[in-house]
Symmetry: C2
Subunit: 134 residues, 2 copies
């Protein structure tokens, strides 16, 4: 009982220090070392309508729930003041546990269907994958 | 005492579920919603030596300790099989709490000194910043 309590106190201290349920998770923004990051940039054609662009955004956002192996997903539109974006306006960051998960993602029917929605309004795409390290 | 033990058990369960000291932190790869992501891609000149490229990698890696406001940092070299990297080989992902922190980072003397190391071997650079959302 004494031992459990001691462990419990230790547990509480650890929780207070690292659990997302107790406070903003301190590890949320840390390096996810060893994970495979899949960085995708889009520039859309000038004639692309806001509705078409929204369909691409929503289509991409839906992929993690349609394809197994996606560890996390986020995206956003360029807000850099440096003017070095080469016209790319959209960035999507897909995180996989490893290259195997990425290799299953790329040819997945849901991904292929998404590409068909994307293609008609795509001007340029750029993809870089890297294994995250510090 | 009973109450503390109960809390302790809860604490242990939570720790087992979410602490990076117990297992890979499940939140580590999650979306860091609201954070400003600064994505930087480099392509180096063909004549850049491995030593020069290493100096750039190390110089970039040193910036988070030299400039306040960097929430997290990671990098890696392209391993995408898609051949859509447009020659970019290096990706650096710098995370800031907000645009204000990014705005303080860009003109920081340490960042400017780094750019001087980079310039002689830089072929192309691409920068996209986005506020991470799901």
């Amino acid at each position: 009982m004494r031992k459990l309590t001691g462990l419990g106190v230790l547990g509480l201290l650890l929780v207070a220090g690292c659990c997302p349920m107790m406070r903003a998770c301190p590890c949320a923004a840390r390096t996810v070392q060893g994970k495979l990051r899949h960085v995708v940039l889009f520039k859309f054609k000038a004639e692309a309508t806001p509705q078409q662009i929204k369909a691409v955004e929503d289509g991409f956002r839906a992929l993690p729930s349609q394809i197994p192996g996606v560890r996390s997903f986020e995206w956003g539109t360029d807000v850099s003041p440096e003017k070095l974006s080469d016209g790319f306006t959209h960035c999507f960051l897909v995180t996989f546990d490893d290259a195997k998960a990425r290799d299953a993602y790329l040819p997945h029917p849901a991904h292929k269907a998404f590409v068909e929605v994307l293609k008609p309004i795509l001007d340029k795409v750029l993809v870089v994958d890297y294994v995250a390290k510090k």
